[in-house]
Symmetry: C2
Subunit: 133 residues, 2 copies
């Protein structure tokens, strides 16, 4: 399932029906993953063409681990398999939005939390810090 290259025509890219994901110089596209039922943002990760193909073929989220440099079927070790409900592309097709049902305990973050976005930035006169929410 090779993906066709992005069109140079903005109109086709933004309004057309052709899915032409734009991978970056490292062959990756960024993906925001949300819980389908609630819309809560669970995590942000990357896919290469193989991970995207596997995700489309199997209906289960696959990513590309930049730290381990390998294909990563989310949940393989944790049981937190993500069943894909919907995938959306953004206007210029260089970002994806995955709506998923999370299996296992429903948590997406390797720290044991549901969402990776568990800290809020707080700016005080002393500087900027993080607070767990």
């Amino acid at each position: 399932m090779p993906f066709p290259p992005p069109s140079a025509d903005k109109k086709i890219l933004e309004e057309g029906a052709a899915f032409t994901p734009k991978f970056d110089a490292h062959g990756l596209i960024v993906c925001v993953t949300v819980e389908a039922a609630t819309g809560e943002i669970l995590m942000l990760a990357y896919m290469n063409a193989l991970a995207l193909e596997k995700t489309l073929e199997t209906g289960v989220a696959h990513y590309w681990s930049r730290s381990r440099n390998e294909l990563w079927r989310k949940g393989d070790t944790s049981g937190q398999v993500q069943k894909v409900v919907e995938i959306r592309a953004d206007c210029d097709q260089d970002a994806l939005l995955l709506r998923v049902e999370a299996g296992g305990d429903g948590k997406a973050c390797h720290t044991g939390r549901k969402s990776c976005f568990y800290r809020k930035i707080e700016a005080t006169p002393e500087g900027v810090s993080l607070r767990t929410i």
Copy 2:
């Protein structure tokens, strides 16, 4: 407002209070921007240190335009200024989540839509295509 470098200690990075955004090789960090009131994902963009500083200083979302290679105060031409309600960092501090109130007509996408994620990927026996939702 210089940002301190990320700690090599995962525990400090993931559980500490120090905000140490991890910029990529191009000096950018990815940001997901959602409408604070609804949680709807509006757009995905990038910030460099300057854009992040300006966002923290002014309370209005600034990004780095990769296509124009310049600082971009969202809404300068469209009126769709984004007032920042909250900024979150993810576990390894290489992604940000902005919760905003969108000014003007509340639309975030340059195509005139509220969200940049207006197309859904559909896989059929004939192949993968996009459908506007």
